[in-house]
Amino acid sequence: MEPISTEIVVLGAGPGGYAAAFYAADRGKKVILVEQNPRLGGICLNVGCIPSKALLHAAEILREAKDSAHRGIEFGQPKIDLDRLRIWKESILDKLGQGIAGLAKQRGVQVVHGRGHFEDSQTLRVETSDGQKFIRYEKAVIAVGSKPAMPNAFDLGNKRVMTSTEALELADIPHDLLVVGGGYIGMELGTVYAALGSNVVVLEALPSILTGVDPDLVRPVARAAQKAFKEIRVNTKVQKMATAGKQIKVTMEIDKQLREELYDRVLVSVGRAPNLADLGLDNTKVTKDDKGFIQCNDQQQTEDPNIYAIGDVNGGALLAHRAAKEGRIAVEAMLGEASAFDNVIIPAVVYTDPEVAWCGLTETEAKAKNIEIKVGKFLWGASGRALTLDRTDGLTKLIIEPETERILGVGIAGARAGDLISEGVLAVEMGATARDLAETVHPHPTLSETLMEAAESFYGTATHTFSRRPS
């Protein structure tokens, strides 16, 4: 069969892949986008960011309703219709998926549905429902993303042991849910199920949930989760799981003691692995690191000069917005531009309740690297807006280079931290100083004021807190 010729083929229509494909098309390239799922959008749209945020919104409403009694507003016991909740969630995904398909069409990006497999450095074979298609390309972008890791020991072939993908399907509301892994996925989905009514127990092998995040930012989340969840157990490892009737028997090790417990469902959220099996990478010059992620240079180019890789397949922070940025860099690199993933600040957000968001240098990182920093911190208890929202459980802090007062990083814990962090990202990207932020007028009353006040507190002049000026 005659191969289809194209300038660029993008494998995977997630937020990285479609961003790259669209941008390449906008820049005048002939582009084919290959996606195995009928709905475009990748993990983010189908089984990641979007559905989880829809469910977290539902969870927030449940919690708000529950927590309103002291404001003089009482609701009865909520009635949860899982089918309708699921339909609402799906409708969002459909809308977004169709939106992406429409945008592809408008740009003349040809979408080929099927599984891609590299035949060589310039040919991609796609297994479509109409049989095999061969795409002869000049440049390819691998953007196939990642999937939840499922250790063999936990893989019982029992639907009650779920990954995030199944948990988002919302089959039922388990009475007792065990979340294995206290990272952001486990904490977010734990929040959803706890709000829906499950007794949630989170197990974390390390000494803290949300490992790597600054402890002061984790604290509000841990405190809220301790209230919402049945229990958070750190320093705990799962030894074994077994099917026990309609339940799962979990053997765990706490303080060198083994304990057995029964759960209706178990969510395994212990990390993610790249989707690189059966991709035919052996037929190309693409290389992988010891963790199985693709190796590429700062222009996203792999060892195979014709092939670029973006997003989760490269490891690191598995974030949609990083993938999208890498996609644009890859396209610009293909066009011969001097773009590079060079000092790009990638913000991170954990959509727990409250949210945690940070960007740039963290206190933890500064400590580990022995970098001298100063911190400007503002606690939300002094924020009028936080009080009116009944969400004083937050804090905003700036990581500051002492000599230049340049803002190197920003960390926020609190409601809508994910939306607030963007100003911090801009500040770090622009090389702003604490003075710049302090001198910038922020509207009152808003949560965004906390950034300004954190900067002011660095100078000991925050309006809504009093601190002795650093002498």
Binding site: E337, D342, E401, E405, R406, G431, R435
Partner: protein, 440 residues
């Protein structure tokens, strides 16, 4: 229609807007001068490429502009009246060409200050190990042009680098590069020293001072002089020429020349004589290409004549001097000098000289040692002719003596070559053939 700064001449990347000759709302005709630009080489006018109404002036007096930069916008072909013009906004169009006015000061001064500061070898260092503070847009530009931002001094808070800082840095690099080997033939070596500005002295400690920004012209003169001074092994050869009979000839023929509208000057005689001497001694008309280790002989004789203008020294070029008679030379010299003094000379008219004559005789002074105008290899400095007692045939006589000094590049010319050349020049002046003065 958007009018952008055209490529004015080879090697000229831009200049300073000295004067804007049109106002917003004003009607302009094709080729009408819209603004005056002072470049490194001269003040020239920018002609309008079309006719229409000036809708917007994008530059200000005193602004530095570069090739391709948007200057003004012109719309349509003069249908609308000048009603749109707001007098208050109209720039001082016909005002006297005041270099560096108050209004122009902030921008230009700022860039000068920045340039001065970056002249020190800057290297950004952060204890945190982070790269220098610069917004993503600036980092992208730096990547595109391969610029190391750690070398750029940021002027904003926390040392943040903005576009102006990048511009100032590049300007500085260019200035340094400009002190290296010249583009036109490379008459001097890579040994050209990069001058470091002397330490800044606070002169106001001893009394009131006034600072004036160097004009681009002044900067060019300064740069080229340092370049010549530091790179050319120079010898000064003095000679006195007896111009008594030459002056007599001039007196005899001046009236006839005046009738034709031409002034017979010592310089025009010298040009005539020099052309013949240069033909005979092509080395004096050559350039040195150090990179290829070659001497470039030029089969044309284009002599630069140093002209003292209000703005400083400018050296317009008289072309094919050897092919012109004394009348043509006198006429052209006069026209060229006038054009230069009025600063209407084009940049092309300043390029391609093979030899230079600098006559200070009209002002006064005796011998002086001129600086060679690289990549040329020789220059003739002419002082004031004065009546002096000299020995003629064993007797003292009063003669008019013209002090001459030939400065030459010893790499291209040996002492004997230079003396032979100068001897021919002097002989040509002293024994000037009257037949050359005849008008047809």
């Amino acid at each position: 229609m958007d009018v952008k700064l055209p490529q004015l001449a080879e090697g000229v990347e831009g200049g300073t807007v000295v004067n804007i000759l049109v106002a917003e709302g004003q009607e302009v005709k094709k080729d009408q001068a819209i603004m005056e630009l002072e470049t490194q080489k001269a003040v020239g006018s920018i002609p309008s490429p079309g006719s229409g109404i000036v809708t917007k002036i994008h530059v200000k007096q005193g602004m530095e502009v570069s090739v391709g930069q948007l200057l003004i916008s012109i719309e349509g072909s003069g249908v609308r009246t000048a009603a749109a013009a707001k007098p208050s906004q109209a720039p001082a169009s016909s005002a006297a060409p005041a270099p560096a006015t108050e209004t122009s000061a902030p921008r230009t001064v700022a860039s000068t200050v920045a340039t001065g500061k970056t002249a020190e070898d800057h290297r950004y260092e952060s204890k945190s190990g982070v790269s220098p503070p610069a917004p993503p847009s600036i980092r992208k530009i730096a990547r595109e042009i391969g610029l190391d931002l750690t070398r750029v001094r940021g002027s904003e808070s926390g040392g943040r680098i903005n576009l102006g800082d990048v511009r100032a840095h590049i300007q500085r690099l260019q200035d340094i590069a400009g002190q290296g080997p010249s583009h036109s033939g490379g008459a001097h070596g890579a040994t050209a020293a990069i001058t470091t500005p002397s330490e800044s002295v606070d002169f106001s400690k001893w009394g009131p001072v006034r600072r004036e920004k160097l004009s681009p012209l002044r900067r060019t003169v300064s740069r080229r002089m340092v370049e010549s001074w530091t790179s050319i092994p120079k010898i000064n050869q003095f000679w006195d020429a007896d111009i008594t009979s030459l002056l007599a000839l001039r007196k005899r023929h001046a009236a006839a020349y005046e009738k034709k509208g031409a002034h017979l000057t010592v310089t025009s005689f010298l040009l005539f004589v020099l052309a013949r001497a240069l033909k005979k001694h092509p080395r004096a008309n050559s350039s040195l290409d150090e990179s290829s280790q070659e001497i470039i002989y030029k089969d044309y004789i284009h002599i630069g004549v140093a002209v003292d203008t209000e703005g400083g020294l400018i050296v317009p070029i008289l072309r094919n001097v050897d092919q012109k008679n004394l009348l043509q030379l006198s006429e052209e010299l006069h026209a060229l000098t006038e054009k230069t003094r009025q600063r209407k000379i084009s940049i092309e008219e300043l390029q391609g000289g093979t030899f230079t004559i600098s006559n200070q005789g009209s002002i006064g002074g005796s011998h002086f040692t001129p600086i060679i105008y690289a990549p040329q290899v020789a220059i003739l400095g002419v002082g004031q002719g004065q009546a002096k007692p000299v020995a003629v045939d064993g007797k003292i006589a009063i003669r008019t003596i013209l002090p001459l000094c030939l400065a030459y590049d010893h790499r291209a010319l040996d002492g004997a070559d230079a003396v032979r050349f100068l001897k021919d020049v002097v002989a040509g002046v002293e024994g000037f053939d009257e037949s050359n003065l005849k008008l047809k």
